[in-house]
Amino acid sequence: MSSLIEANGPLFGTLLVFGQIGLFVLVLLLSLAFLLLLDRKVWAAVMMRKGPNVVGPFGLLQSFADFGKFLLKEIIIPAGANKTVFLLAPIITCTLAFAAWAVIPVAPGIERGTSWAVADLNVGILYLFAISSLGVYGIIMGGWASNSKYPFLASLRSAAQMVSYEVSLGFVIITVILLVGSMNLSDIVNNQSDGFWSWHAFSFNNILLFPVMFGMFIIFFVSALAETNRPPFDLAEAESELVAGYQVEYSSTPYLLFMVGEYLNIVLMCAMMTILFLGGWHGPVPVGDWINDYPLLNSLGGLFWFMAKIVFFFFMFAMVKAMVPRYRYDQLMRLGWKIFLPTSLAAVLIVSGYVVYTGVQA
């Protein structure tokens, strides 16, 4: 970001950064509309239904119709609700979900050795972790400010759940950082540039680590489900016991913001898994050095692989939602604290021992 400002002068550089941010937001919102449809279509297909198919061809415009509906409805604020906090909660959820995307490198840059991200931070992965750990505030504030029992219970559940699973997420991230030796997301992606056998999910180039890193990949996926309150861990919503969880009292645009934030967080988790474990923008087979002579092709190809992997992970999220029954709350806590935490802690020990012994770190 700062390099853009230095290269183009203060005024034009700042405008460029704003342009990048605007482009990111626009593309994210547009793709979110179709990902939402994908989610519903996959869910419907598993249940042998057709899913939304009325608005536009194959129901492609369904999300836009829903968007219009949400905007035009009336905002209802329950009696006795804490108005400021009540309206602040969805805004916080949505803003944080967008803010996290600032550091995601989506494609290799036109110049060699750079990557296309709004801000290529040195502590990028920590920033992501910090922002995603703040997501709990939207839920806990929304639940409390509604002045209603069900939302409050849901927000308490959700807060405990998210804090618990953050721990194992953090340890899994540490194993990847240990392998790479850097917290910069572009470095993490470039460490996996030698084709699919160098991706951290498999790490066949350090074959002894394969069982450890593949296990960490699975743990990260399951923790991501819990962190985003997705089924089978959607105890914050649990419609059969808590009506609809922390968003019972929300309607219209505030509800829309909650939903957009929630789905953006899911896509963000998909992007994190892509970057940490599936090689980011690198294809499964290295194309060779000739690609460096065609930087635009290189960038577009990278963007294609990045998006393809995100859609793959999103499909997995949707399939899990359709197939797996909901966990009970004590089982959820047991899984987080008694299984994932010790396993990932042991993995940190093994990986750091391996790195020190063999010196594979760059």
Binding site: N82, V85, L121, N122, V123, L126, Y127, F129, A130, I131, S133, L134, V136, Y137, I140, M141, W144, F152, L156, A159, A160, V163, E166, G170, M183, D330, Q331, R334
Partner: protein
Amino acid sequence: MDVIAFWILSAIVVTSAVCVIGARNPVHSVLWLILAFFTAAGLLVLIGAEFLAMLIVVVYVGAVAVLFLFVVMMLDVDFVELKQGTLQYWPFALMIGIAFLAEIILVTSATVTRDPSAFDPSPGAPTNAEAIGAVMYTEYLLLFQMSGIILLIAMIGAIVLTLRGRPDVKRQSIAKQTQRRRSDATELLDVEPGRGI
């Protein structure tokens, strides 16, 4: 640019810190505290300590303040009533305040005379995390280990204080449950008509 950002951020920190004390509703107090933590992280980014800033957000805002909020929301205490008797403690509050102010004045007067370029990270210097790691695991190893042990003791203490063995609770043994087979639980019987089992 940096100066403007500094003044805006520090104004927000001070205002929200005052609001923490001033807010009537304890939940609002915690929310203001979170804002203060978050903006303090912004100040740390300004002086180039990005690693510390991220740690503050992860640890204080992401975990500690969540638990604060959790506890304050669950407590059904009338805080207005609780505040009635606090006025008699004002001499203590004054003493602590004066000591704190003196410390801040001491620290700031010691650091303003320092060469400001000492804070500028030069290109090629090790990153924050590397620099902290390099001294934490060598020079301050003993202190680091000691703080770890203190935290562990605090954790065990908290568990011991709240642990109570309740005999009336039915616990599920996951291992037993997954080992259960259909043949252990069900039996097919040929029931004669009119006899029952």
